[in-house]
Point group: C2
Chain length 194, copies 2
DNA sequence: GCCTACCTGGCAGTTAATGCCAACTAGGCG
DNA sequence: CGCCTAGTTGGCATTAACTGCCAGGTAGGC
């Protein structure tokens, strides 16, 4: 059922993405205009905005799909797995599903170096967090009462904070360190006695 | 040495801020234009942008001073205070220094309900985090070596994650719960054995 | 009383983003 | 095959956030 439209759409999306990422890497995010991307990708400005609603989505757009994957992975962990371990499992799935390491590194650097992108990225991440809170809450076996239970929210936020710290360290060291290992170190610093 | 210029500047800033916040509360952030704020505040659009570099700064602007206050408070804690306690002390100072509770609640709701503002707020918060990492690292007594120490970064990120979770809970419950208490609960959920 | 320094306002221009409309194209149907 | 419909594309105009520039004004030192 993949019509010709769907296929050419895929091709166009990829072409736009490649052009944009190349230009961002060459001249920086702020210095690259939508007009230039559209011109070099051989598409009208108007259509570019139909594919990607905002300039930031050119970088952070495909995060949405990853968020869904993360949620499903956490949900499908066996019931006896703790909330912390379930979230770690989800995080590890993301690592393999992301892109090639080089691409992920390039994207990470772009995001961490560009305040506007960083903010947008975190905004998307916050939506993942909100979606994960009920999942984690169920795993904690809490009865939702009148006084809300901050535990699930805090745990999810902390896991993301550690994942973010680990990713930033990984990016600033050009990917030479092991990301999963950095994540474990971050979590240990938080949860261990100190 | 407060010249007339400084004073009228203060007055102007306050007038703009009051007008902007009122309009944001009445019609929402996105629906309010800079032109309208300038008109109702009796100032030119050009000068408004000189006082506040961006529209978002009308809401998140004074966060900068708070960040500096936070950093200094944490720095000035006695040496025997742990990193966690020093950060908590800083957070508590922020609570009292903020504004009136009503104003803080109104601002919090505006920020949490407006994606663009939320992103901007987090962006500023990230700068606080970066400034705090060396302070916390010194308190951890770590010798910065070739292999970086993720602990300070992770601890700071976690404290902010918990503070953010607590603030969001506090705002969604109209300020009826105690913010410091919520923060303690969040941190306990993360650091306690579970 | 003048002069310098700074502040203010208007104007034009750039960039991201949106709505509208006309031209086009794929794919179904007689 | 020829048409028709639906979905797509591109150009044009518009809005809103910003920025640079320049002319005018005002406070404060000399």
């Amino acid at each position: 059922m993949t019509s010709l439209w769907d296929r050419s759409r895929q091709v166009a999306v990829q072409a736009i993405l490649d052009t944009a990422l190349r230009l961002f890497a060459e001249q920086g995010y702020e210095q690259t205009t939508i007009a230039q991307i559209a011109r070099e990708a051989g598409i009208s400005q108007r259509s570019l905005f139909r594919y990607f609603g905002t300039k930031e989505d050119l970088v952070c757009g495909d995060q949405d799909a990853l968020g869904e994957l993360l949620k499903q992975t956490v949900e499908q962990q066996p019931a006896e797995v703790s909330a912390w371990d379930a979230l770690r499992a989800g995080f590890e799935v993301l690592l393999t599903a992301n892109h090639t390491p080089e691409r992920a590194l390039e994207l990470s650097r772009l995001i961490f170096d560009t305040p506007a992108l960083h903010a947008r990225y975190i905004e998307k991440r916050l939506r993942w967090q909100a979606a994960l809170v009920p999942v984690v809450q169920a795993r904690l076996g809490a009865a939702p009462g009148p006084t809300p239970d901050p535990r699930a929210k805090a745990i999810v936020a902390t896991v993301f904070a550690c994942a973010d710290s680990a990713t930033e360290l990984w990016a600033t060291h050009d990917g030479r360190l092991d990301l999963a290992d950095l994540y474990a170190q971050c979590l240990a610093a938080v949860r261990g006695r100190s």
